[in-house]
Structures are given as C-alpha cells and as structure tokens.
Amino acid sequence: MPVPAHMEFFIDPNRCIGCQACVQACSECDTHKGHSMIHLEYVDRSHSVQTAPVVCMHCDSPTCAEVCPADAIKRTEDGVVQTARKPRCIACNNCVLACPFGVPKMKTDAHLMMKCDMCYDRTSVGRRPMCATVCPSEALFFGTREQIEARRKRSAPTNSFRFGNQAITTKVNMMLPVTARSEYIDVTAAMGDRNVGKDIRFTVLTDALFDDAEERTV
C-alpha cells in the first residue's frame, strides 16, 4: 500500500526545542531498529539553544539515487526515497557526499548506507512516522495540508530549494514564516558570507536596565 497522497510531512525548525525525542524514537522504528536516521544539531550552542532537525526530504529527483553507481537507492511511486538495498549497496559513500541535505549515513560496520525512509513500514499502512508522532513541539508534523493550514497561520509550507544552480523539489515540506514567503529556499545563498552566527549577541541579558540610561551615561 502506498503512503496516502494527502498525508504530508512538514518541518518547522522554528518550533524545535532540541529535545531529541525524534532521534530517540527514530531508532525504535522496526525497519532500522537500533539506528537513528535523524540529524539534530545545535546551530551554534555558544550563542543560542536553536537546534535544527533534519530528516530525508525525499526529493522528486533524488541526488543520492542519481549518483549511486550500483542503482541501490529506489524511489517508490508514492515518492518515498528508500534506504539503500542491501544486496546492491557497495558502501561507496557517493550518496553521503552528494546529498545536498546531508541525510544518508554510512554504517561502515554493515557496509550499508542507511537513511530515513519516512517510516515506510508505518506510513504505508496509514500510520504516522515515529518522529512526527512523538515530536513534543510539532516541529516535525505529519498530516494533511488542510490541517497544517488550519493550525499554522503564521507560516506556510514550501518544497522548493536551490543549492547554487541545482533546483530541488521535495516530498517533505519546510515551513517558512509567512512574512518571509518565497518561491524557494536558497540554501547556499549565505555560503560566501562571513559566519554571522558568531556575531549574534543576545543583548537582552546585558542590556541597560533603565529607560534613561543613555541620557545618564552621556
């Protein structure tokens, strides 16, 4: 049974609280039990508690499959990019290096690439993926477009990304603030810029206390 077309995956990093429930739950999924396929990292813990969860975006034209010399990565008709097929995978790492989102993991002990398959064992029988079921903040959400529109008035989904000249559309959606609505997310736009993260300062903790502080210090 395919994953129902009206059930979609939505990611909203703005909601993520870094609790790792998704990471811990991913390793409970029956198809890859004991291994977590989710990446969850602090963007820059020294300056913020912000974290970003990354699951497979399930690209319409998956780069991982395109670069696979062994044709081990299949995309099912319902748009789910499966983990590498064990008999075919030669553990060459091409997919790991090529995926623009950095999703596949190489399990060197098993000589096998593993990645998120959107809990195919669950989603193909009408259930929600582990991560999006447990996520306490609904940063990972699996449901219908109507549900997301009704619940998320401040943001809107997009599934178009640009990495330099490469345009990618994905099965998984990323929520963007409505104020920042754009036709696509330009992922590498800031790559040439200085690492601004280091310059961010939460001055709220060190601000002047008094409304007239400026006048007083003058």
Partner: protein, 735 residues
C-alpha cells in the same frame, strides 16, 4: 545506621548503575509481541499516554498512544526510552540485608525474613523511644492509591506523626500559594485553554525540557496570535522564540510581579468589577505595590525598565491570558510569596475561570498533583483535609475505623525529619520513592543523617544512592508492574494499567507495606486485596473534602479518558475548569466560585525579600539548578537508560562568555565551583544564553557530580521548600 558500601567493582556489578541499551529481545519485536498495554509514562507530571509492548511478561518496547487527548502520541526522549527499565540488570529481584562481609556490601535474603526483621526493628525502636521515633519518607511518583496507603500506614499502623514526601522539594510552594489565594490547589484550567489565550506568561518554567509536550500548547497559542512572555535567568528553548524575554535575576520574581501589578493599577489595566465581586484584599495589595515603580523593579530584578513596561502593557491589555509557573519561582525561601505575586497579577486582571483565561503551576512529578492530596503530607489527611481540624480528623477516623484521638497530629517537613534525626528524636526510617541523598540540598548533611539512623529500611526497585544506606532493602515494583490512578498536571485523574508482573521476589509496594503492618501485629485497615479496593476507600475518604474523588471510578476514567477532580458524585462528569462564575463548591456552598466561605479569592500582600544567601565578595556568583530533558529528578531510573545517559552524560556548568572571559575559562575546561557547603569539579560550557551573574548546573547526579553538594538548605517558612534556585558560589578554573 549504615554507611553506604564502598563502590567496589562487585557492588557496581550487582547494583549499577548500568546504562541499558536495546538488545535482541527489544529489537526484534515487530509482529512478535503478546500484547500492547495502554497506559501512561512513568516520569513527569504530564503523564503522557503510551502503549507498552509486552512479550513473555516483559516490557520490550513502546508504541505512541494517539488516543489520549493530552499528548496525542507525543513523547519526550524519556518516554520513548522508558521501556528500557524493564528487564534491567540492576533490578532488585530479592530483599537485601546490609552485610559488610559480602563483597557487594549486601546479602540477598528471603522476603519473609526481611519483613520480619523490619517489623522487629520498628517495634523495638517505637518501644524504646516512642512511636514518633520512627519516620516515613514517601514520594509523589507513586500512584494515588499508594500515597493514600502510606499516609494511612504512618498514622494508623505506625502511629507516628513523622511522615512527609518528596513533593516537599517540588510542588509545595505552589500548593500553599494556591491554597491561600483560591482555597484549592490544582491547575485552574485544562491545557486546552492555553491556545485560546492572547498572552501566555511563563515564569520560571523550562517548559521545553521539563514539560516538553506543553510546548505544543504554547506554540499553538503563538500560531493563533498569542504573545509569549518568558521570565527566566536563562534563554531556554521555550524562551528562544518568545515575544518578550524577561531575564530575571534569580530570586527576584516577586519584585517583577509587584512591579507589573503596579503598572496595571496605574494604567487602569485591571478588572475592577471582578476585583470587587470576586476578591478580597485588593486595597492592601495595591497599597503595597505602589512602591514598585518600574525603576525600582528594574533595579531589583535586573530586567530593563522598558521590558517591564512592555510586559505590563501586554498582560494588562489582554482580553484572554494564561499564566504558567514552575519551580523557577517556587524553589525559594519566598517561593509562596512569588506564587502569591503571580496570582495577584491574574486576579487583578479578572482573567480566570473562563475559556482561554487560565492559571496553573506546571507540576513536576508523575503524581505531583494526586500525591499531594491524600495524606502523605505531614499536615494533611485524605481529600486535602487538615490534620489539625477536629471535624476532619473525626471523619477520617470513621473511614479508618479508629478513634479520632489516635490519629497523630501534624509532623514536620522532609528536611526537618533529617534535622530530627540529628537531634536524636527520630531513630528509624522507612523510605519509598525518594532519593534524598541526591535530591535534597546540602546533601553531605543528609548522608551523615542516613548514617546516624539506628535502622533504615528502603523500598526500591533499583538500589538508589539513598537505599545504599539501608539496613534492609525490600524489592518494590516498577510503574508497569501495578495498576492505580495518577492525577496529572491538569488535575485529570488517569489510570495506570499493569503490563507485567513484578519479577523475582519483587512485590507491589502496597503489598509490602501491608505485609509490614501484618508482621507488626497491627493489621487493622491493611487487608486490601487490590489497588481498586484502596481506591474505593480513598473515594469515601475524599468525599466532601476539597479534593473530592468520590464520583471517580476506574470505569469512568477509562470511558472519559480521565476525570478532572473535583468529581463529587456518580453522575458528575468532573471539573476540567475551576472557578467558573456559576460553579458550586463545598466550601463556598454557592456564594461564589472560589473555595472560601464567602466564595471570594484572596489577594495577598507579597513582600519582596532577597534570597537567603545573597552574593558577597567571597561568593560573588549566583548558582541556579534545574533539569535537562533527558534525565528525570535524582536519576535513579534515567541514569540507568543508556540512550538517555548518552544524550547528556554528566553535569555541565553553564556560564556567560563575559564571566568566562574574566575567569579565563573556555568550554570544556574543568572548573571548581565552591559554596559554603561544598565543592564540585565539572566541565564548563560557555553560552551567551544565561545571565552573566548566574551559573547553572543540572542536579540529576549523585556523589561528586551532585549539584546539591553546593545548594543551601534554607527553606520557605510556609511551604518548607528548599531554595534550590539560588545560592552564592565562587568559581575558578582548575589549576
């Protein structure tokens, strides 16, 4: 009496803590489980619904439980990995006796002999030193049935006045504040009111880490257009994207609440009609807060004047709102005053008792709510009755079939019990579900007192750091090995269902307690055959009390997916929202929505006082303690679950770069943190998400990694909660 055994390799081999990971039996569960048991998580007060996978009388995994309305399948990492405590190598499978000649420090013994010895020691101590020489420490992670039984056991069987519980470390400031202001202590609203609020004010609550599922309610409010105000010395994950962050100096919350109220009054952002009709005491409060000008408030709280004005404007002008607070404002020597100050802001706004208008403390422990209602507190009888009220004593005596004068009078709080051990008044102790050696402040004192006891018996499923001091350890039950009710964060009574039988010689806790009563030759009132029988007696005992459970049955809980107390009759559906305008309660009897004879809420003058131990030249920094998302309380369970240990393996000392720079400290450097009580060494993490004058250490670890070596044992004079959230320390980089 006993020193804890040396932590030899044989001791650790037997008792751990070993971090458990999924093994073959856990990994290959697909299609091979015997049954799925619908129940709740064993950890925090949210009590998320969860389904446990059971095979061959063992919990081998979980499935999200989407039918429970509070969490709809959501779980935090603790809930996801909780199943790994089943089949754990550290599990106590028999009774143990302390024995220095045994290589592990303990020798297994038969359950029957252990119970006999416990009874003999209790009898001896009480014969020689009187009934009050034996004390009981209990816990709020137990089911309500067990907490009820512990209170009854202390008063009826042991006839000791000295019983208290670990909620003393947790919910008592909120409880006392609520009682003073509303006459009842329960979340005033179900969480479904949070997304309907225009302003959500979160004071001293690390929601994302300590009550993670609550995050989705707050975020939903934000999606609906609410403004989120967070008061905290640290930018926690819930604070990261809030609309207004108020970085309060630890221990100064009441100044902020008074300052905001002052601005509300000054700008007429108050509900005069509500104040007039439904409250008492406004004038005195208004007079008191007059001195809390924005400037003074800023001076004391360390929050900018501008932010204070903005907060008052938003809170004052909202038409709906929800105020949440937790241990951040409650763990103080003026914790009750902080709570009263927060409640004054709510009452002055008139926004309570209506849809989208709410107030609640975020209860911490699994049964933090139910565990504080039915008599394991030192001054309380079931149904939230007062142990010093003759009418209440008579009623409970009739339920227990004893003479009212045989019920002991009020005892003392959990920390004071240790002081009474020091004074030699208490000689023997039974503890269950409490690990004070890790969780109480200034814990080197606690350790010395455990060593001083003539006799100590612990009921536990793992050998906690406290149980290591026991003369006898009785093997109790895990959450999934028993049934019973728990009252979660919203005041909803829910049902824990049994998934497996206790392994080996382990027993359900209520059976152990009854066995002791029988071995003592004092069996009267301790012949329950099931938790359901205990619950049925509890229903009668609570009837007519403020916390009235009389209309709640296991079947009703099942049918309604939980019942909010008060539920005073068989056909009563329960009370999700308190203080609705036309509501009836047994204290006001129709004269108003609040639980006082006149039906009116009390506004209490809440004066500011600085923390018990302020900073000085010698100890110039403030230490605040708290939790991380992957660990729970004293860690007896979560330090034994491998994936949770890996997520945050050891305590780190959070400090601001400005402070770190001055001290020459970088992330990862070992630092020495010293207070007047103790010293600890731990790695630093330098983050600009904390006030520069404050450092943070999580408290889940024992021994040299315990933050409570440093904390101060000063307590709130009313609630007796310890001041975990602020004490003075100094820090240096390890040479």
């Amino acid at each position: 009496m006993a020193n804890a055994p040396d932590q030899t390799s044989l001791f650790v081999d037997r008792f751990g803590p070993h971090p458990a990971y999924a093994t073959e039996v856990h990994l290959e569960t697909s299609g091979r489980i015997d049954r799925l048991v619908s129940t709740h998580c064993c950890f925090c007060g949210q009590q998320c619904g969860i389904n446990l996978k059971v095979r061959d009388n063992a919990v081998v995994g979980f499935e999200p439980r989407e039918d429970f309305p509070f969490n709809e399948g959501k779980l935090c990492p603790k809930g996801v990995k909780r199943y790994l405590q089943g089949m754990h190598p550290d599990r106590l499978l028999s009774a143990f006796e302390r024995d220095d000649s045994s290589p592990s420090g303990f020798r297994p013994m038969t359950y029957e002999r252990a119970v006999e010895r416990v009874a003999a020691e209790i009898d001896r101590i009480q014969r020689e030193h009187g009934p009050d020489a034996f004390a009981v420490l209990s816990g709020a992670s137990l089911t309500t049935e067990k907490t009820y039984l512990m209170g009854k056991f202390a008063r009826v069987c042991l006839k000791t006045r000295y019983i208290d519980y670990n909620g003393r470390l947790c919910m008592v400031s909120a409880g006392a504040g609520n009682k003073k202001a509303f006459g009842i202590d329960r979340a005033a609203n179900p969480w479904s009111d949070i997304p309907k609020a225009e302003v959500v004010w979160i004071a001293g609550a690390n929601v994302a880490e300590c009550a993670p599922i609550t995050t989705s309610y707050v975020w939903q409010a934000r999606e609906n257009g609410a403004r989120i105000v967070v008061v905290d010395p640290r930018i926690t994950p819930i604070a990261r994207t809030c609309d207004l962050f108020l970085p309060v100096k630890p221990g100064r919350d009441i100044a902020l609440f008074n300052g905001v109220l002052q601005l509300m009054i000054e700008n007429d952002w108050i509900d005069g009609d509500f104040i007039e009709r439904h409250t008492v005491g406004f004038d005195a409060v208004a007079e008191h807060v007059r001195e809390w000008t924005p400037r003074r408030t800023a001076e004391v709280t360390g929050i900018s004047e501008k932010a204070i004005r903005k907060a008052a404007e938003w809170w004052g002008q909202a038409s709906t709102s929800f105020l949440l607070h937790a241990r951040g404002i409650e763990h103080h020597t003026h914790g009750v005053q902080n709570v009263l100050g927060a409640i004054n802001m709510v009452l002055a706004s008139g926004r309570i008792g209506r849809e989208g208008c709410g107030y609640a403390t975020i209860t911490g422990q699994a049964n933090g709510q139910g565990g504080r209602e039915h008599g394991q507190k030192c001054d309380q009888l079931p149904g939230w009755r007062d142990i010093e009220n003759d009418e209440h004593r008579s009623y409970i005596a009739s339920v227990w079939d004893v003479e009212p004068e045989t019920i002991p009078h009020s005892g003392v709080d959990a920390y004071e019990i240790f002081r009474k051990i020091e004074a030699g008044e208490i000689r023997g102790l039974l503890s269950i579900c409490f690990n004070p050696k890790v969780s109480l402040p200034d814990n080197s004192f606690v350790t010395r007192m455990l060593e001083k006891l003539d006799f100590f018996v612990a009921i536990d499923f793992f050998l906690s750091e406290t149980a290591q001091h026991a003369d006898i350890v009785l093997p109790g039950s895990l959450h999934e090995e028993d049934e019973g009710t728990v009252t979660q964060i919203e005041g909803r009574v829910i049902k824990i269902n049994k998934a497996v039988d206790p392994p080996g010689d382990a027993r359900q806790d209520w059976r152990i307690v009854q066995d002791i009563a029988h071995a003592l030759g004092r069996p009267h009132g301790f012949s329950f055959e099931s938790p359901r029988e205990i619950f049925d007696e509890l229903r009668i005992a609570s009837r007519g009390g403020v916390a009235d459970y009389s209309g709640i049955t296991y079947e009703k809980i099942q049918k309604q997916n939980g019942v909010f107390w008060p539920c005073p009759g068989d056909d009563h559906p329960g009370t999700p929202r308190l203080f609705e305008a036309d509501s009836w309660n047994p204290v006001a009897k129709g004269s108003g929505p609040f639980y006082f004879p006149d039906g009116k809420a009390r506004m209490n003058v809440a004066p500011y006082t600085p923390p018990a131990e302020d900073v000085d030249d010698e100890y110039p920094l403030m230490l605040t303690t708290g939790r991380v998302v992957s660990q729970f309380l004293s860690g007896t369970q979560t330090r034994r679950i491998g994936p949770l240990v890996d997520q945050y393996p050891e305590p780190l000392c959070e400090m601001h770069p400005r402070l770190a720079e001055a001290l020459g400290i970088r992330t990862g450097d070992p630092v020495i943190v010293e207070s007047r009580r103790g010293t600890m060494r731990l790695p630093a993490i330098v983050v600009s998400t904390i006030r520069p004058d404050t450092v943070f250490i999580p408290y889940h670890w024992p021994g040299a990694r315990s933050a409570n070596q440093l904390t101060v044992s000063a307590q709130d004079p009313i609630s007796k909660i310890p001041e975990y959230k602020v004490c003075a320390v100094r820090i240096r980089k390890e040479a």
